[in-house]
Every structure is written in structure tokens, then in C-alpha cells.
């Protein structure tokens, strides 16, 4: 209860979260669990994950994001990653990782547009 957590906000059918601290492994896993729990609680159809404050994304974090995407997909939701820094995207590509199962957009506004387009399909 006392552990600092990353705020997950709700706006309509959508959850929005923007980690501002470095995600060490335990925190990343806790964050993932918090998100999934919130999706279940709110029946959110979408999640916007803003990573603009994250300057290093390594394989562990990629895995957590992938698991969030897979689990939310099973629950009928979509995940949009926004604010991915170009140098982070480059490093991921060079390592051979892809953020599978997630949509991406340049910022929160565009991310919400992506979700609304998906929902209208």
C-alpha cells in the first residue's frame, strides 16, 4: 500500500499512464500488474502508455510491454505506446526487438485518435 506507484488515469473507455521514473525490474512488473488490474476493474477498451520520459528501454521492459499488450488483447482491449524516443526506437530495432501487439503514435492526442479509429471499425 505504501509503495509508490505510477498513476493510471481513466478517460472514458481509455486508461492513460505516463511513468516518470526509471522502471527497475520489480517496479516494471508491479506496474504491469497494476495496469492489468485496472483494465479488468474499469473494463477499459484501450490503454495509452506514454513512454516519453523513458530514456532506456531494454529487453526486460519490452517483454513487460508485450505482456500488457497480449493480456489486454485477450480482454478485448488495445494498447497504444506514445512518445517513444527516436534513440530508444533505434536501439530496439538494432537489437532486433519489435513492440509486437502494440500500436504506436507520436503523442497522447494521436494515440487517442488511433484508439477511436480502431473502436469505430
Amino acid at each position: 500500500m505504501e509503495k509508490p506507484s505510477i498513476p493510471i488515469l481513466k478517460s472514458g473507455d481509455c486508461l492513460i499512464t505516463s511513468p516518470q521514473v526509471a522502471l527497475h525490474d520489480k517496479l516494471a512488473v508491479q506496474f504491469k500488474n497494476d495496469i492489468l488490474q485496472r483494465i479488468v476493474e474499469t473494463k477499459a477498451k484501450g490503454l495509452v502508455l506514454d513512454v516519453s520520459a523513458i530514456d532506456v528501454v531494454d529487453s526486460f521492459l519490452v517483454r513487460q510491454i508485450g505482456e500488457i499488450a497480449a493480456a489486454s488483447s485477450i480482454m478485448g482491449g488495445h494498447v497504444v505506446v506514445v512518445g517513444l524516443r527516436p534513440e530508444v526506437a533505434m536501439a530496439l530495432v538494432e537489437m532486433g526487438f519489435s513492440l509486437e501487439g502494440v500500436h504506436t503514435a507520436v503523442n497522447l492526442e494521436k494515440g487517442l485518435e488511433v484508439l477511436h479509429k480502431i473502436w469505430r471499425r
Binding site: A22, H24, D25, K26, D55, V56, V57, D58, S59, F60, R63, R85, P86, E87, V88, M90, A91, E94, M95, G96, F97
Partner: protein, 134 residues
């Protein structure tokens, strides 16, 4: 000036992984690496120190600024006294298929850096050396 930048950091817990990559990024920036390379270096450090922590429970990272005949760069050594890596050739090749982070982190680091060397023995542990040049 550069002598002061030789750094050694013990990896004893998860927070040290973050500490290590922040330190590597800071030094890389001070040496003149651009954002892209700083991120590559920090990401490689994150992968290697995590491997050490996860598979050996401990590790040590050393950062050495390099200056070879006017060519400047950074060298990072991550060593542990863990169980060593079996089938290192296989691990490096099939980074994606080996279940778990070890292979991905190792092969990922190799792709991000200019030079990569790994020495591993089941009775001694593992030492990974990576270098990037300006």
C-alpha cells in the same frame, strides 16, 4: 581528467542496474557520444548488468574511457562469478529463441556495440567486454 572517469560499480540489486546505465550514459555523454550512441551504450549496460544480476546474483561493471592513437571511445566490462554460460555460440546466435533474457540481452548488446567479447567458464563466471568508438 579522463583518469577520474574510470568507474567501477558493484551490481548487488536491481537498483544498481539502473545506477549502472545512468552512470554509463553520463560518461558516454561526457566523452562526446551523441544521444543515439548514449542510448545504445546505456541499453547494452542494462542488458549485461541484468544478466549478471539474474544469473549470478551479483556483478561488477567497469567503465574505461578509451584513447587509442587519437581514436576515442568507451569500454565497459561486466563481470560476475556466476555459473557461466553454456553453449555460448548458440546463445549468441539464437538470441530470440533461447527462452529468457540471457540470450536476448547478450546478442542485443553485441548488436548495439562496436566490439564485443565474452569469456565464460562454469567454475569462474562470465566477463563481457564491449566497446564503442566515437
Amino acid at each position: 581528467m579522463e583518469q577520474k572517469m574510470i568507474e567501477t560499480l558493484e551490481i548487488k540489486n536491481e537498483a544498481d542496474i539502473i545506477r549502472a546505465r545512468v552512470r554509463a550514459k553520463t560518461i558516454a555523454e561526457a566523452l562526446g557520444f551523441n544521444y543515439m550512441d548514449q542510448t545504445r551504450i546505456a541499453t547494452a549496460v542494462s542488458e549485461l548488468t541484468r544478466n549478471a544480476y539474474q544469473y549470478a546474483g551479483e556483478g561488477k561493471m567497469t567503465i574505461n574511457p578509451l584513447n587509442k592513437q587519437g581514436r576515442r571511445g568507451i569500454e565497459i566490462i561486466v563481470e560476475d562469478h556466476g555459473p557461466g554460460i553454456e553453449n555460448i555460440e548458440l546463445v549468441l546466435k539464437g538470441g530470440h529463441s533461447t527462452g529468457g533474457g540471457l540470450g536476448m540481452g547478450l546478442s542485443g548488446s553485441k548488436k548495439l556495440m562496436d566490439e564485443f567479447d565474452v569469456r565464460t567458464r562454469s567454475d569462474e563466471g562470465t566477463t563481457v567486454t564491449v566497446r564503442k568508438w566515437l
